[in-house]
């Protein structure tokens, strides 16, 4: 499996706080990498560094073999990187359809308006928002906005998709639907990094899990290995019982 994304010794510092500390990581072609860790571990900061919102202080990041360290987000979008936000960021006063058209227009394929509309309609169908396409984005419910985030990112036809807590705030049925959707997206050849606090979900959906704490990698491996790791149990899960429950839930 060749790597779509590689990071080497990536650090990001805010004043005295080292949010990401000499982190090296890799995502294979078509792989789903789960990213977990306690609040403040540096997960979202890592996303922001990967997609160019922040420039890393040290280290190097490559996307499909190309050095992208310090490239701005808009350029990375054209290179095939798309993301969703932990707190949905819809274009409020625009329709759901226009939101997704914008994703298709300015994403990897940089489509013109008409072909972008076609892609957008297909994508809305795919994520199950088709009948809401003419609603203003601000009128969607939270699960709707999360779907819109995913639709907008997918319409860009990315090679690598960064999903930041798309399951948080959804009820169990909606979580199930979203997990199905994520698996289906991977089947289409898109590589994914997913940040999630819902352990059951991340255990079932990820091929590999990376655990962060204080900006450092404390464990990495197959989901069932990671939950058994003492460092992870201590830092994140809190007790060995939870680790056992999770393993049995597998």
């Amino acid at each position: 499996m060749s790597a779509i994304l590689q990071g080497r010794d990536v650090s990001k510092r805010f004043g005295g706080l080292l949010a990401v500390s000499e982190l090296s990581f890799e995502v294979g072609q078509g792989e789903i990498l789960g990213l977990i860790g306690p609040n403040g571990a540096g997960k979202t900061t890592l996303f922001n560094v990967i997609n160019g919102v922040y420039k890393p202080n040290t280290g190097e990041i490559t996307l499909a073999g190309r050095n992208i360290t310090g490239s701005p987000p808009n350029k990375l979008a054209h290179l095939g990187l798309a993301r969703t936000h932990q707190i949905p960021q819809p274009l409020n006063e625009m329709t759901v359809l226009d939101n997704v058209i914008a994703g298709a227009c300015f994403g990897r394929e940089y489509l013109r308006l008409l072909p972008a509309e076609k892609v957008a309609l297909e994508t809305l169908q795919y994520v199950g928002l088709a009948e809401r396409s003419h609603v203003l984005a601000k009128h969607l419910t939270l699960p709707g906005k999360k779907r819109l985030e995913v639709a907008r990112a997918l319409a860009a036809k990315p090679k690598l998709l960064l999903l930041d807590e798309v399951l948080a705030g959804l009820n169990p049925t909606e979580v199930g639907q979203m997990v199905e959707l994520i698996r289906d997206i991977r089947k289409q050849g898109v590589s994914i990094i997913i940040i999630e606090h819902l352990m059951h979900a991340i255990m079932t959906v990820s091929d590999r899990v990376m655990v962060l704490n204080f900006g450092m990698k404390i464990a990495e491996g197959r989901p069932d290995e990671v939950v058994r790791d003492p460092a992870v149990v201590e830092a994140y899960l809190g007790s060995a019982d939870i680790a056992d429950q999770l393993r049995e839930g597998q």
């Binding site: 997609n51 919102v53 701005p72 987000p73 808009n74 979008a77 054209h78 993301r83 936000h85 960021q89 819809p90 274009l91 409020n92 006063e93 625009m94 226009d98 058209i101 914008a102 994703g103 227009c105 300015f106 994403g107 940089y110 013109r112 308006l113 972008a116 907008r152 860009a156």
Partner: protein
């Protein structure tokens, strides 16, 4: 295609009406009323590109109009250029100025950007007031002989009038063209959520600078034409903050972000202002009305008149 849009044909019809109505019967009074409305529409619809489309409030929009006037008048009187060439050159020069300025000050957002635009206006006014080639605070005057190439003053006034109405038509078409384009979609994305827009792939810095520059071009051309017609220009008149703010009232009145809104708002406001200005009791009373109007709109009808009509879908299709 833009030709299929009803509003394209509405614009054409309105522009033609502006040109023909006063021309038939040589109605100079009507011409003078309509030229004020045309200028208001030019200022409002180009400012709408910034405020309504991109979400950046520009209090200093009038600076483009004034600089265009100065550059145009200087080329005509000081360099002997023909009017149309001078007006176009003024437009291009002011656009380039706006592009460079935009790349710098558009890093600011929200209230900080708005404050910076006032700073730009005041700085330009102070500079021009001390700029020897442009006559310092006394300004510049046109001598009668510059009207000769256009067939004397009477004909020259009509020629400038037609040119100004043409610029008005172009302003509306520019607004419509941008609104229905991918560029426009990018601007709306910036207005709604600039951070999300960058992540989606919009080159926000470039888009903002381009629209800032585009919103400068036609007002500068209009400035060159209007001050040529007036025969004189001076800093206080050319860089009038009040007029800048009135343009914002026009946009809010008609409906920000809509093409028809800025035109309708400009037309209505200019009529109101004309009426109030000619009342003997209070001077500058229109500014009181403008302030009150702005408050009422922002509080009770933030989408303006056209935004209100958008409740009816067919109406919306007609006007966009």
């Amino acid at each position: 295609m833009i030709l299929k849009r009803p509003f394209f044909w509405i614009t054409m019809a309105v522009t033609a009406a502006f040109m023909l109505l006063p021309w038939r019967g040589n109605n100079v009074e009507m011409r003078e009323t309509l030229i004020l409305i045309a200028v208001a529409i030019i200022l409002a619809s180009n400012l709408n590109l910034m405020i309504g489309y991109t979400g950046y409030v520009n209090f200093g929009n009038i600076v483009f109009f004034g600089l265009g006037g100065y550059a145009g008048l200087y080329l005509v009187t000081g360099r002997g250029w023909p009017l149309i060439g001078a007006a176009l050159a003024a437009g291009v020069a002011v656009s380039i100025f706006a592009l460079l300025l935009g790349l710098a000050i558009l890093r600011l957002r929200g209230a900080y950007f708005a404050l910076a635009t006032i700073g730009v206006l005041e700085a330009v006014r102070a500079f021009v007031s001390n700029f020897e080639p442009w006559g310092r605070s006394a300004g510049m005057y046109v001598t009668f002989d510059v009207y000769q190439p256009l067939g004397g003053p009477m004909k020259a006034l009509w020629t400038t009038y037609f040119l100004v109405t043409g610029v008005m038509g172009l302003s509306l078409l520019l607004s419509l063209g941008i609104k229905t384009s991918k560029f426009g979609l990018g601007l709306f994305a910036i207005r709604e959520n600039e951070d999300a827009a960058v992540v989606l792939g919009v080159n926000t810095a470039l888009y903002k600078a381009i629209v800032y520059s585009a919103s400068a071009f036609l007002p500068a051309v209009a400035g060159a034409l209007i001050f040529f017609k007036n025969g004189m220009i001076e800093p206080e008149q050319a860089f009038d903050l009040t007029l800048s703010i009135e343009a914002i009232v026009m946009i809010m009145l008609g409906g920000q972000g809509t093409v028809a809104g800025s035109a309708v708002g400009a037309g209505l406001y200019e009529q109101l202002r004309g009426y109030l200005l000619t009342q003997p009791t209070l001077s500058n009373f229109h500014l009181v009305i403008a302030g009150a109007l702005l408050l009422i709109i922002v509080l009770f009808a933030p989408l303006g008149l056209i935004g209100w009509t958008h409740r009816w879908r067919p109406m919306r299709r007609m006007l966009e």
